[in-house]
């Protein structure tokens, strides 16, 4: 069981968390939606697994490359 860190691709703010901890995710599922410079940018699970941890809350500011969630395969 490998833990995969999901990183933010942009600097911005967390607009909406879509998935919940414990939820089974398929590759391509949305975990949360970030907002930066008038754009909505979804954070996607690149591989399937169980959402183990959410490292941010709605409204939190995130930096590019920051770990925002952890998925366990």
């Amino acid at each position: 069981m490998a833990a995969i860190e999901v990183k933010s691709v942009v600097t911005g703010a967390v607009w909406k968390i879509v998935a919940s901890v414990g939820q089974k995710l398929a590759a391509g599922d949305e975990i949360m939606i970030l907002e930066s410079m008038k754009m909505e940018i979804p954070v996607i699970a690149e591989d399937g697994g169980v959402l183990k941890e959410l490292k941010v809350a709605e409204g939190t500011t995130v930096n590019e490359g920051q770990v925002v969630a952890v998925i366990e395969e």
Partner: protein, 454 residues
Amino acid sequence: MALFNKVLVANRGAVAVRVLRALNRLGIPSIAVYSDADLGAPWLSLAGECAYIGGAPARESYLNQESLLEAARRLGADALHPGYGFLSENAAFAARVQEAGVTFIGPAPRWIDAMGHKTRARELAAREGLPVGKGSGVLPADRDAILKAAEDLGYPILVKPAAGGGGIGMLPARNADELVAAVERATSMAERGFASREVYLERLVDRPRHVEVQLIGDRHGNVAHVFERDCSVQRRHQKIIEEAPAPRIDRATMDALLERLAATFSRLGYDNLGTVEMLLAPDGELRFLEMNTRLQVEHGVTEEVTGVDLVVAQLRSSAGQRLSEFMPAPPVVRGHAIQARVYAEDPLRFLPSPGKLIEFAPPRAPHIRVETGYALGREVTPHYDPLLAKVIARADTRAEAIDRLVAALNEFRIAGLKHNIPALVRILESEEFRAGEVHTGLATDVVRRSPQTV
């Protein structure tokens, strides 16, 4: 007599600079505004007075109607320029400004309202006999009715917010499954971005061109055109390269359309600066898409080829002057102008990239015009649009304008964040762009073709 006693510029960045310079040139006292994120911003030094309007998030400042109206009242403005974006196409705000005894620099609120709703605008265009692309009305909530509307139209389809703009919430669908998901997502984005859940469908045209017509009207029932712009080069449904005049176009067809639009909007009584956006399909048909009732980001290319100062014209029109006073003779086009929008974004993935400008040296050269709201050492925050600068090149021929723009972009020194100059240069130097074979998929095609060079 001066046009206005004092004008409040209710915007930030490059457009605030542009409008404040026009006011200074006309000798009109001005007020600039700023949020917490924009303390000490470059446009503030161009204004006679500055007003703090609230916190960094736009809804607390540049979208904060109370705060802007209060600043106008407190400092005694008798006119307000909304710029573009933010509150520039908010009819309720325009009406509140007027009710406060302040002139809104733009069309009458009823026009903002009529054109701000995309399906109603399309209906108006169709009633006037203008060619309009295939589309639905506002979608009902019922799933079967949505699917039926889509089948009537035929796939592929584009889902669009009815109250939308700026490419936000526009999603393609190739089949029924994609459509259901796209409608759901577009509805949510529309509600959030435009406070309206209304979405509608348009037939998705493959590789169209985007051609728009600049109109200028007065408060006395006169409208003239100031020719067309081609704005086909886009990413995420947002323009990145714009030019005037449009390349490879049938001049006779275009000229007839220009005259027809000016006559139609004259008859309807359109009363300020406005732009009619058209889609040019590969079959050569130009069809009405929407109308923007404000100054456009790309107005500079029209100014460069016609010599008409569109911001000054807009101010004079709003002050009640006649078209015959502020534009005595029909403009003519001389040469060619191309604008590139420099964005703080990852040039490969087109994702925003905020940061601090540790290096920022815009090009200076003959025939090059740069508009920016940034300066060395300024922070590009995630709160606002990622536009860093507009670079416009002017020349006698299109080929020469491309060369000048490429040279200017290559001289632009920016460090501290990612920017799209490499992608802009690749697009401008592509065979297709050089040949004038532009379409809305070109930017993505070029970047995909050679990702290692952007």
